[in-house]
Amino acid sequence: MTTPLIEMRNISKTFGAVTALSKVSLRLEAGGVLGLIGDNAAGKSTLMKILAGALRADSGEILIDGKPATFAHPIAARDAGIEMIYQDFALVPELTVTQNIFLGREITRRIAGVKVLDRSAMNVRAKEMFAALGLRVPAVTLPVQALSGGQQQAVAIARATGFEARLVIMDEPTANLGAPAIERVRETITRLKKSGVAVIIISHRLEDIFAVGDRFMVMKQGQLVGEREVHDTDNADLVEMIVTGADPRKPLVAV
Amino acid sequence: QEGPNICFVTFSLQIAYFQSSVEGGQRAADELGVNLTVLDPQADASRQVTLVEDCISRGVDAIVMDPIESNSLFGPIEQAEAAGIPMVTLDTQIDHPNVLALIGVPQFDASREFGQYVAGYIAGAMGGEARIGLMIASSEVQLARRDGFLAALEALPGVEIVAEGDGRNILEVAQAEAENMLTANPDINVIYATGDPQLQGGLAAGLSQNRDIAFFGWDDIPQPFIAPLEEGRLVGFLKQSPDYGGEQAVRLLVDYLNGEDVPSVVSYNPTVVTPFNVDQFR
């Protein structure tokens, strides 16, 4: 086995008295597409927020290219090439589509030595990003609060996939999308995979992962229940694992 | 800790007049071995009541007060009487047996006398014709000064009060207010100010608009007014002696605590400072 791009070891996390994660481990190679599935409140979003630096684990370690990296802050994770599409999109409602997309890595130009936002360049680039994705939004100069749920999701997807990332995490990327847009997202994932980017998808829509994924990881109540290769499982098998929280192939989960 | 404990609840230490009054008190206290505690209600009557109450809680031997609103102090005065704590007031009289004495200048009367001086100036130097702007602040003391002044000028036929501005004892407000007043009334040729922020603000406004106006006004601190006096913009200002008042208040209470008889009024004549006697006040 080669050194994985990402490895999470024994991650635990509690919120007050709620144990959201207990000793969860995960590994993913470059170009791999992992589907993270599980019932509501299984801890999927929490695990991914830790990987993206938005939350800090209580214990456990994260390795990138085999080297330990504790992401104290989203800045560090972004610098390491990790992008995340949050379940609630994490968009600033008052800012425009373009501003949201480029937030934190604006294009600037110098006027008389002063760095100035290059707004037209960013608008053009944003339009190109949507064109490349095949996703649709109205004018990129609209504030995102004027967009419908699905349009906001498209903005979040464009932001996460439009820059050079090594790992893209997608938390329910298709929950608010219509059929054509879902098709586009699947194409995007395939494209990312081809260019060597690793992808983690959280989705209740198993069919999305069957379509483009390599591997499933099933969680329940903050613990890893089991793993499956996509070619080695079927819907019923996975649903059983999600519901019962036990892997029928192994008597006990040992991580 | 051998000397008596005396509380000095002033009016507002943000105003120079009262700082000077507190200094006088402190000087007397140092000389007589008194532990003087100075408390500052910042011109807020209800906080002044609070502070007097706090003094009573501390069980001090006597209290000096400079009333913000005289009515409001009756409650604490009674509380002090019950606790056997004698009091004196500065500048504002309160009729109560526990208030031993008034120290300072009766404001209405002093302002009326100053008003008569102003009237004399108008009659002499301005041919009896004047259009006057008043710069006030809405406190009990300054309203009394305004009323005393008005009482003095009532009788003069050629004199008219054309505007009144409220400087709220804040220098910037007073200046803006005075600037606006002067712009609106190009014919104003006399300004009477009832307190030093009002007078300073008025002078600054007159200067910035380049107007020829005879200024009169109150209060103690001579220092910012010396230059205007010399330049002839300020005709005269009424100088009280708050430090004298503060000093006398503490002395009187110490005398009383030592069992001596004390007078019920300690007053003095405020001086009108003009270019002629300004040298005494440098």
Partner: protein
């Protein structure tokens, strides 16, 4: 798995029931309760610490006169603070309370002088206060930010007070008011009793009635409250009317205490009231409010000032030190908060072992 009241692992309702029943027996749970207590009552602790420090360093502090004095000083802030708590719970603010106190003070004195009986005057000015508050609320519901409306009211109300009184203070000597200001019932002074009643009623309304719930919902997420059919407009107008009425009551107490109807009354009082409310833990952004916190906040502010005065601290330094102490109190509360949270989840792994 370790059972706790907050378990959030998708257990169905009957499980939760049983854990609630079991909680008292579990020592770890009690520690958590203690932590939650610490967080919730951080400001109580700050107040208690301050009082202990003062009691040890000044013999005059823990005297009944002093405590009652401070309680009387804090009473108007508590009374008006209860209203402010409701306003802030809706994500609003009312800067006009100090000026309203001044206007009410003037009206009270004028109407008493005019010969109206004291109880009628009290009733009338409370109605006037509530109506002016409702006017504020009404303009706010038209879409003008509360800060602007009540800032304008701050200037206007006091201005009307000055116009009405021509800037002059009028003494109040009516026996009813003397009793309100300086009387006592079984040794407890009247302002304190009034403040206590207001605080208890306020607590009840906020925590036990529909109206209180609606107020919190409005401040928590207005759009959600609206689509759930709450009458947002009426709720907002009501909280400002309540605050106006309570500011009038506070104005009565202040005027009675000062025996004086003055347009200068209540100067900057709004800052004290808002500070007490925010210190207590009510959020300026709405949705979170606590009456007990407001009471503690008001007491803290007044006890800090009192303690400094009793020590004869230089009056200029009093200002500096008051500010620093208040920030320290809130900071302590915040930090305590984090520590307590960390403590509450100490060793979650062990618990997992136990549950297997």
């Amino acid at each position: 798995m370790f059972p706790s009241r907050f378990q959030n692992n998708g257990a169905c309702m009957s499980d939760v029931n049983s854990t609630i029943r079991r909680k008292a027996k579990n020592p770890a749970f009690d520690m958590r309760m203690a932590a939650v207590f610490l967080v919730r009552y951080g400001m109580f602790i700050a107040l208690a610490l301050w009082m202990v420090a003062m009691a040890l360093s000044s013999e005059h502090f823990l005297t009944s006169t002093n405590i009652l004095n401070v309680a009387r000083q804090a009473a108007p802030i508590i009374i008006i603070g209860v209203g402010m708590t409701f306003v802030m719970a809706t994500a609003g603010i009312d800067l006009s309370v100090g000026s309203l106190v001044a206007l009410i003070s003037v009206l009270t004195a004028a109407w008493l002088v005019a010969g109206l009986p004291a109880y009628l005057v009290i009733g009338l000015v409370i109605v006037v206060g509530a109506m002016l508050g409702a006017l504020n609320g009404f303009i706010i519901t038209l879409g003008v930010p509360a800060f602007v409306v009540t800032l304008a009211a701050l200037t206007s109300f006091r201005g009307v007070g000055f116009v009405y009184s021509d800037g002059r203070a009028v003494p109040i000597s009516d026996p009813v008011f003397v009793f309100i200001g300086r009387g006592d019932i079984f040794g407890v002074n009247t302002p304190l009793i009034i403040a206590t009643v207001v605080a208890v009623v306020g607590w009840f309304v906020l925590n036990r009635t529909r109206f209180g719930l609606y107020v919190l919902a409005t401040g928590g997420r207005e759009e959600a409250a609206r689509v759930m059919g709450l009458a947002i407009t009426r709720i907002k107008i009501t909280v400002y009317a309540i605050t106006g009425g309570l500011a009038a009551l506070g104005g009565i107490v202040i005027s009675a205490r000062l025996s004086n109807g003055s347009p200068n009354a209540g100067m900057m009082l709004e800052l004290d009231v808002i500070a007490a409310t925010v210190l207590g833990g009510t959020s300026l952004f709405g949705g979170r409010a606590t009456i007990a916190g407001t009471v503690v906040g008001a007491l803290l502010i007044n006890f800090v000032r009192n303690g400094l005065n009793l020590h004869g601290v230089n009056p200029y330094w009093v200002q500096v030190v008051t500010g620093i102490i208040l920030v320290m109190a809130v900071l302590m509360n915040t930090v305590l908060n984090r520590k307590a949270e960390a403590w509450a989840r100490a060793n979650p792994d062990d618990e997992q072992e136990v549950s297997k």
